[in-house]
């Protein structure tokens, strides 16, 4: 087990008191705690760690980061790594 590892998961339901939620991990539904986060809605991605949502995953920022990886300014002419 990776102690500091947290994984992004999508919220499926939020409990009435906003303190708990269900997520699906590899098709298995799991109850998690929302005690450490605020304003979480169904459909949001959160970082799940030892049964707790630690923070929301900002999906706009995620796309920006991926776009940055793909950016190839001035490198088109370099031959690929063998």
């Amino acid at each position: 087990m990776l102690m500091c590892l947290a994984i992004p998961t999508q919220i499926i339901t939020v409990s009435a008191d906003q303190q708990g939620a269900t997520v699906s991990i590899d098709g298995i539904q799991k109850e998690i705690s929302l005690a450490l986060v605020e304003e979480i809605a169904v459909g949001d991605y959160v970082l799940l760690h030892v049964g707790y949502a630690l923070s929301k995953v900002d999906t706009v920022e995620a796309e920006k980061t991926l776009a940055l990886f793909a950016e190839m300014k001035g490198l088109e002419t370099m031959e690929p790594l063998k």
């Binding site: 102690m3 500091c4 992004p8 970082l47 995953v57 900002d58 920022e61 190839m72």
Partner: protein
């Protein structure tokens, strides 16, 4: 899974590898320390070093929670199990960590002690509710990522009046440890370890934010890039560190914007501040006594503090002879420098904590790094 698979793309990895090659100055060395075991794990699992120029080196840091826990703390838990009729709950990896005299929590369990593996602090609370006549102790370890869930549990126990629940608190702090490494004689005077820049923690930073690193980027003139745990995150962060070093900058930059902000998770921080206070001194395996580097439970919640509740003596631990974990945790040695590596010590039969958790450098070398010299290739798809 979404937000995982995209960050493991082999095609993007090749692009990033080219960018890194392009940016690297062949006339200098780049020694980059990844503080977190999560990064160590990703670097080895995906064969990231094979994609990078030879003068870019990863130096493995101490950011593996079970690795840095001093043996004496496990000895103390074993003492408690012998003296009192307690149910001891802990996260999985901890059970296998070798204690003094060839003991471990797993062995104690096999011999009849009530040791239970839990996934969450909520599980530990549940065990306490179901066993009101028994004392339930949660063996809490971990960095800033894992502390808030412990805080929630204590608070909940207080609210519910769950008076048979207590926490054996071993939570430690990342910035204090990084500072300790930078001030260590190996880095400062002897110069045996050279660290040019840091990968900042991913999920620790989700809680504490990027701000706490600003102090030592400035003070020690080393760049820090907060990096996600996926292989492409590590590669992009490598590029960012190389660029900073080339330009002579030493700033805190954030590659992991999708999760980390400058301020972090304020709700979690407030909760931790309400429940915990700094210990003046705490021992880390490998780093020794580090001032203000760990937390203990605050006075109003003493009732839930295992150390206040039971009489647990200081115990002098006995380390396995030949285990190089302490030097490895400081970045001063590599797993292969240990004579026990791969022969006496394997993940099935660990002699030291660095071989237990998949975040430990020895376990990562064993699982993914052993054959690297023979057939270098990356595992990125």
């Amino acid at each position: 899974m979404r937000y995982i698979d995209e960050f493991r793309s082999g095609e993007l990895a090749q692009k990033l590898a080219r960018k890194i090659r392009h940016a690297t100055d062949p006339n200098r060395q780049y020694n980059l320390m990844e503080f977190c075991g999560g990064h160590t794990h990703a670097i080895f699992r995906y064969g990231v070093p094979d994609l990078l120029p030879k003068n870019v080196h990863f130096v493995h840091g101490p950011g593996c929670p079970v690795c840095v826990l001093p043996t004496a703390r496990i000895d103390q838990a074993l003492y408690l199990l012998e003296q009192e009729d307690v149910i001891l709950c802990s996260y999985g990896d901890l059970l296998r960590v070798p204690a003094s005299h060839k003991k471990s929590l797993l062995k104690a369990k096999a011999q009849g002690s009530d040791v239970r593996m839990v996934y969450s602090t909520q599980d530990a609370l549940k065990i306490a509710r179901e066993n009101p006549e028994r004392e339930v102790v949660f063996f809490a370890i971990g960095f800033e990522t894992t502390t808030p869930p412990t805080a929630v549990a204590i608070k909940q126990a207080a609210t519910e009046g769950l008076s048979n629940f207590s926490v054996f608190c071993n939570h430690v702090l990342t910035p204090a440890a990084i500072q300790n490494i930078l001030e260590s004689p190996e880095v400062r005077e002897i110069g045996t370890v050279s660290i040019d820049g840091f990968f900042g923690p991913s999920h620790v930073s989700a809680i504490i934010g990027s701000r706490p690193y600003e102090f030592f980027a400035e003070e020690f003139q080393r760049p820090v890039v907060i990096a996600g745990f996926e292989p492409l995150d590590v590669m992009q962060s490598t590029l960012m560190l190389i660029q900073q070093l080339n330009e002579g900058r030493y700033e805190v930059e954030n590659e992991y914007h999708r999760v980390v902000s400058r301020d972090g998770n304020l709700k979690a921080q407030a909760l931790v501040a309400e429940l915990f206070e700094l210990r003046p001194l705490f021992e880390w395996r490998g780093l020794g006594q580090v001032p203000y580097s760990a937390l203990r439970i605050k006075q109003p919640f003493n009732e839930f503090d295992t150390e206040q509740r039971f009489n647990i003596p200081e115990i002098e631990s006995k380390e396995i002879k030949g285990c190089e974990c302490p030097a490895i945790l400081r970045g001063a040695k590599r797993p292969r420098d240990c004579k026990l590596f791969g022969t006496v010590c394997t993940p099935e039969n660990p002699m030291g904590s660095c071989m237990v958790s998949s975040e430990g450098a020895c376990a990562a070398y064993w699982s993914y790094g052993r054959f690297r010299n023979v057939s270098p290739e990356s595992d990125l798809e």
